[in-house]
């Protein structure tokens, strides 16, 4: 097990720079998730750690060793690929034992480690089957088993769950988490799915266009996003971002959006003064309805008209218009029934509101 240090790493394809000097420290035993939209450079970064892509600049070290010029097989990292990359002509046993065979481990050790992984992953009945005779979930397990038997310093996962159906994905996500709790191997995991990122990660790294946008725990990136991009990318449904202007009334600051005043908490974003334009970010789940409104201070209440309601069972998604012009998505308790056209009382958890600079799109705290 080892830590991974990524220092000022640059990747260029010809004249095109796709990763622009990324710095990241992955601690020992940590589960790091790289997340971002397609083309953000997350897979490239992972492949550079694996040694499958060369660096155009910067340095990567695993443990205390700089691995820039170390070939993939000598880095002691194991990777799980999106399409599993199982060897089609080998049985499950041979697939899992391949790396041990290549490393000239004894037959007994090969067998022992393969059996141990097979037991953990419940693959024992399938050891003599070929990958073509397995279901998607079983193939995924074999790919994980192949990585496990290596006992590598670092696990690398490249969107390993994206080929599975929704139900299996949830199940495998849990298993991945359990596997990490058991083995505690340093893990770098790439996904475009923010739910996977939130549920699996010790820390999330959000990438966009080859730049790191934010590094933080799931709660940090959810509650304290660095910028508008992170605020909208993390969380589903995404954060509501409303344009407004700061007004000072009786010595208190408000974001005025239409006719509604959103109070700014004391001590927050001192740079916002009377007349500053500002973006207000409100999580859909920080909008309350029904009984829950009563728990909020009265000046956090307002009224809105329901446009659409989607009932999802445990909760409902409502599109609400306030002041006849500002659209908001609200995620409220499932038992609350609201009909389109109805005017409802809503309350905001303004202590969770995040303010952004409309110019730089950076968060102001």
């Amino acid at each position: 097990m080892a830590n991974v240090e990524i220092k000022k790493v640059v990747k260029k394809y010809g004249p095109v720079e796709v990763i622009h000097g990324v710095d990241l420290s992955v601690h020992e035993n940590e589960f790091i998730v790289l997340v971002g939209p397609s083309g953000c450079g997350k897979s490239t970064l992972l492949r550079m750690v694996a040694g499958l892509e060369t660096l155009s600049g910067g340095e990567i070290s695993i443990g205390d060793r700089v691995v820039n010029n170390v070939s993939p097989k000598d880095r002691n990292v194991a990777m799980v690929f999106q399409n599993y990359a199982l060897y089609p002509h080998m049985t499950v046993r041979e697939n899992m034992g391949f790396s041990l065979k290549m490393r000239k481990k004894s037959k007994e050790e090969q067998n022992e480690r393969v059996m141990e992984a097979a037991r953990i992953l419940e693959l024992e009945p399938y050891l003599e089957r070929k990958p073509s005779e397995l279901s998607g979930g079983q193939r995924q397990r074999v790919a994980m088993g192949r990585a496990m038997v290596r006992k590598p310093d670092v696990f690398l996962f490249d969107e390993p769950l994206s080929n599975l159906d929704a139900q299996l994905r949830t199940q495998m996500r849990m298993e991945l988490r359990k596997m990490h709790m058991r083995l505690k191997t340093t893990t770098i995991y790439v996904t475009h799915d923010q739910i996977e990122a939130m549920t699996l990660a010790d820390r999330i790294v959000i990438l966009k266009d080859g730049y790191i946008q934010q590094v933080g725990t799931p709660i940090e990136v959810f509650e304290k996003p660095n910028n508008v991009f992170v605020a909208k990318f993390i969380g589903n449904p995404p954060m509501n971002i409303l344009e407004g202007v700061c007004n000072v009334i009786d010595g208190k600051r408000f974001v005025v959006i239409g006719k509604t005043r959103f109070p700014i908490q004391d001590g927050v974003a001192a740079e916002i003064v009377d007349g500053s334009p500002v973006l207000a970010g409100i999580r859909p789940d920080s909008i309350k309805m029904g009984q829950n409104v009563e728990r909020l201070p009265k000046d956090w209440w307002c009224h809105g008209e329901v446009v659409v309601s989607e009932i999802l069972g445990a909760h409902s998604l409502l599109e609400i218009i306030i002041d006849g012009e500002n659209d908001l998505l609200a995620e409220v308790e499932g038992r609350i029934v609201a009909h389109p056209g109805e005017t409802v009382r809503i309350g905001f958890e303004f202590d969770r509101m995040v303010l952004f600079d409309p110019e730089t799109k950076m968060a102001l705290y």
Binding site: L52, P72, Y87, F98, S99, R150
Partner: protein, 280 residues
Amino acid sequence: MSKPTTTTSRITIGTISMYGALFFLALFFLMPAYMAIVTALKPPAEINLSTAWELPSKFHWSSFSDALSLLKSNIVSSVILTVCATTLSTVLGSLNGYVFSKWKFKGSEFIFTLFLFGMFIPYQVILIPLFQTLRAMNLYGGLPGLILAHVVYGLPITTLIFRNFYSQIPTALIESARLDGAGFFSVYTRIVFPLSIPGFVVTGLWQVTQVWNEFLWGICLTRHADNPITVGLAQLAGGQAVSWNLPMAGSIMAAAPVLLIYIFLGRYFIRGLLAGSVKE
């Protein structure tokens, strides 16, 4: 009123005339084969132009054994030539294809394009330089020189077929093997080669056909003792008084191996050529 979709196909004037035309054309194309078989089975005295189309009065099988004894050394040469040239050009083509599809390097596309040029050079064009080169290498006149010529000349097509074949093997498989500890050759021997059987069948069939049927280099680059079957056959048909049953029997024997290979392995050939064109 709707017609069932799975009724027997209706026989129309169109289909009758189409199959009639196809039948006629098939007969037309089989005429030389018929002529060869009929002539091979006649005793020499019975062969003349006026009765050329008639069946033999009695099957004269000894033409085949006579031709065989005359062509024996040529057949042996051809078998050695074909087996060696096919094996070498296929294995080398497989390695080339592996490099050009999975270990691309700076300029590899350019070198691959140069390789492909080789496919468009006719045998005749390089005959004289090839002759001189082989003589300079002390390889003129024997089978090794001819094998070398066929191996080199076969490389463009074998490289192309294998490169395209290997481009269907997901690159992640190679990368996974590299992370598992395999190097350049162990990735080839343990991952790529075992998945190459269809590629070897297609390329092997192609090369066997090319090398076995080739005549010009055979006659120009080998001395009499090492002439391949195509040359032996031509010598059988040359000269003043030809007993035509012998060259006919000889050509049937010369065509048989390639024909049999296609009859038994042809579907692999088609499948190999089409591999990857349809999603499985």
